[in-house]
Symmetry: D2
Subunit: 351 residues, 4 copies
């Protein structure tokens, strides 16, 4: 067996724990070498739960005290840029969770830092590693449904995101925190870059949840026109309560393709004919994409080992951020927004 | 439009009301000319509900007082033979519900009477008219899955059958009342006649329902070996509580074919991720086979008009009865029973 | 049985034949009294096929020569207004196919004429009579998923519509010819009227089909904001080749509801593990909504008999037309269009 | 991380490679310490493919030359007993693939040897570790469908088993090689032991595959009566060509439960409305139970570490063998066979 790749995990929250679990229990080729979180309590709790002793309150401290080859960044979006740049400067490979950053300028700095350092930069679009997404893409790529004309991707998540994730000063909103994957998916399957975006959002549940963040929305519907004429549709609902829902539907010139299912398991029960048949639904994203998270991290380690270009690059991450920025401007200004408005004069939302 | 065919319906119970409803609301080419039931209350209630005035307490009375071309028999099994013979003797065409009769001798008498009178005799195997069964059969007949090797057919029904239907003196038991269609289906798809039968039955719920009929069973599992080597499997559960369930699965030399579904409608709802996704189940047989009942009666009227041989003949009905008799002997004597034991020395069960 | 209602059917095309078939074979309470089509060949062919002798080249001629109670209008959209008004003036009840008319002014004239004459005016939104749509609506109405936040409705049809249907001078385009039902559905389930509309369209297949109609599109994606805050999404693809596809998905405050399915029958076959499992798809709209067309016409006859208000009124038809007009302006002018722009200063597209 | 458990894998065939792959790529807590196969070519090829250098031609040789804690036995059935006993005598824990052995006497010897040595003995019923089977069982155990009355379990496999597996001198036939899991499943869900068994088998494809093994069958249908009255049904088809198919259906006193699905992925495509909708099917057993194989081996390592009793014990394996022996006698003698006939006077089939 080749030498294990040592990983420093930054962020001991939910996504961080998913990656930690992968490293400890599923990937013999990697090892969790250090855990970083700026909140002492979270750090201690996660460290004990995961069983890692090398716990640090900052990446700086970890760099000083621990030996590792790569960094996985799962802390809040507003920290991504600095962490990625610091890691790259120390020659560490970077897997950065989505959304990549708050602005296109930040994305550019991250990409440049990793290029300069010659390290791998992968963005956490784990759906690209889900076997169903892979199989769907293989069929589209093989031309089975012809040129994609209409691509719909949705993410409906069960619970309210944390305060920082819904505040436009520390995040770029639910369209990024919840729908980043959809932005990546529609562009991936369109085989083209977005050209024009229109978005409508609605706030149905904020009041009931005591949310008074300005411009809060729990429901979003976005149209994307791609530069090859294809149309994309993204929908986001969060909190949707009913489960974790991530599905894609593509109509091509010669057919239709669906990826994903509400159904979480091939188990069916019926106990009462008035109630009807019951099947489990995916309850959470770690459950829905359990295999994809493992495959994603395995791919990252393999890219580090072989020098291959990762399946989801900084450029892919940057496009998702650009889409979010355009869509946010669209709903704020109630008009379609051309992507070049965002690309040419990068915008910082909420600042 | 050609002249309407006048139908006398014998039996104002549940099956009778299904056929009455078909004649009144769905088949312009037929007309409900008379309704017969020996129970005055049922007769009156059904007559009012259906909106038919020509109500009689016996087929004899109806024959005397009303003009009609055909008889549809939905009364209890033990009445079938005499009614069919009487109808035939008066030149009336006969659609007889399943099970055809209590013994093979009764079946023979019915077939002979209708042949002698030159009238149509159709047995109520309405599944042969269900679009899904028709499509499945078309695929098997076209050789899509090759020669059928293993055919499974099941009927699980929600409620306890009426007392006469579970008493072996007035019925031939649940294997007939509930599973007659399965007997027809496995033979239809095997494209062969049964050769040997083995059955196990169980009584799980009788006590709770206060049933003390001797040899009562609510669960039955039957194996059939056909004379071309194919194997059949029939299961019956009644009362199953959870809905009305009728499905078929056929493994052929080159593939598998499934017909039918638990799911009663393409409606899906999820309100609670701990509960899961809910879809309606078929609640009752009139709901599951609504279209098939209409198509069956339409076919009967068409056979009368054209003289064509009905899709489900007296011979088909007789084979289903033979299977039930063999299976009943099998579970009573705890051994496989060769069909020729039943065919050569016809048996009357319960007498 | 009550007296049969006599129906004059205007339009011997595909939709006309569906209604004719319903009257002749499925509705004992109605009778096809006259058939009208301005094209002599179509008229003769349809008359023979259906078996109706009272064939006329115009509604005027039919009114003169035949006795009937109601008119079913299935001729091209640009003829609807004059036909409905003429029928109403002669005291005939009107069932008019969708789209109701070319302009809001035409809709207003039709509604007024029927009101003045005291006759029933029903619009051909047969999806409201599909058992799955009915069941879905019952659940939404009962509050099972809470207040609808996001409603998606799609219609993808297999074949290219006829020339008149894609020419903005004789039709209001595919958004009306193909997606009228979706306009009705999203408004129905939103329980609110549209407020703002944004549409993108694309032309992927026109060239290959030799279509050079100006502004032709085969792919459309529409967003609707309703006056209660709910968001709607309509998609149309025609010709989509792969089948007839009509599905609805609603996310409410407490859950999700799906109506409809790609799958056309509960039949499943697998013959080759490299190919996978095959199930039938709905091939055409008469197949998908066979039962709904019968229930729709039955409802119309019942409304005539009882004087009840039909489930789909002229007002419902008018709103669908308004939505189409707004969406068409939206994609032509590349901006969101407020419904009041269309409602206050009614627009005739293509004129 | 605790010390890795070192595993010696006996059998470099298909099942062996699945376990090897699990150890190398999915289980950080275990390590593949040695590989054994008596066929030099298979051994060399598998060793290279897997990347293990410690390759031996016998377990004896491995015991001499390599250090390990446990043995995983995947060689042909007739070798199981001697290998398990040898391993136990050297204090190695044993995970033995199904079927456990050829006779009940062999099973008894294996169980006794492991008990004497105080080592873990686990049988390879990996379905017990499949998340769907686990979820199904949890629901049954919680009483959701009441007491199981009827349990159907099927395994249809794509390809012809190897010659040793279909020869009753070196195997106990397809009912063991293909259906061992079903024997375990029906007993597991019945919560009872089998009491009486009846089997029918058929040979449809032997001739076409040039198989002239005596008593060869490719299709089997078995009924099992359990000592609590529940009925079980097992079906086996091999080769079935169309895919790998493993499903369970349980009717309990209060409902129905289904586990498993033909569908191999939540991907759906439709390119042609005459062909219909296509979804992938599970092609092979390693694909269908990929996760279960990992969980099974993880469980084995955990039982070794903690001393816990494995989920699938030698007793479970012995019952499956007993069922096969009874069913084989049943179809050979064309009669139901009481389990006590087999249990009291253990039978060696084919000898």
């Amino acid at each position: 067996m080749p030498k294990q790749i040592r990983v420093c995990l930054v962020g001991a929250g939910r996504a961080g724990q998913v990656h930690a679990n992968t490293l400890v229990h599923h990937l013999p080729e990697g090892v969790l070498a250090a855990l970083v979180d700026s909140a002492p309590d979270s750090l201690r709790a996660a460290g004990e739960k995961i069983g890692v002793e090398a716990c640090y309150s900052s990446l700086e401290e970890a760099l000083e005290c621990a030996a590792f080859d790569a960094v996985v960044i799962t802390s809040p979006t507003y920290t991504h840029k600095d962490l990625a740049v610091l890691a790259a400067q120390h020659g560490k490979h970077v897997l950065c969770e989505k959304p990549m950053a708050l602005t296109l300028a930040e994305c550019d700095v991250m990409i440049a830092a990793c290029e300069r350092a010659g390290v791998t930069l992968q963005i956490g679009f784990m759906r690209r590693f889900d076997p169903e997404f892979e199989a769907g893409w293989a069929r589209v790529e093989a031309g089975e449904i012809g040129r994609p004309m209409l691509i719909k991707s949705l993410t409906h998540g069960p619970g309210l995101p944390p305060p920082w994730a819904r505040d436009l000063r520390t995040s770029i909103g639910m369209l990024a925190e919840v729908n980043s994957h959809d932005w990546d998916t529609v562009r991936w399957f369109a085989g083209a870059d977005p050209e024009r975006v229109y978005a409508e959002v609605a706030n149905f549940k904020g009041a009931a949840h005591g949310v008074n963040t300005p411009n809060f929305y729990d429901t979003a519907l976005v149209q994307v026109r791609f530069d090859n004429g294809a149309l994309g549709c993204i929908s986001g609902v969060c909190p949707c309560e009913y489960g974790y829902d991530a599905r894609v539907e593509i109509v091509g010139e010669r057919g239709i393709l669906q990826i994903g299912d509400l159904r979480g398991q091939a188990v069916l029960i019926c106990k009462n004919r008035d109630q009807g048949i019951i099947t489990p639904i995916y309850r959470t994203w770690p459950e829905r994409f359990a295999g994809a998270y493992i495959a994603e991290l395995r791919h990252f380690l393999e890219c580090i080992r072989t020098g291959a270009r990762p399946r989801a690059t900084g450029t892919d991450g940057r496009w998702a951020v650009a889409g979010v920025l355009a869509a946010t401007r669209s709903f704020l200004e109630r008009r379609p927004v051309a992507m070049r408005e965002v690309l040419e004069a990068p915008v910082a939302i909420g600042r």
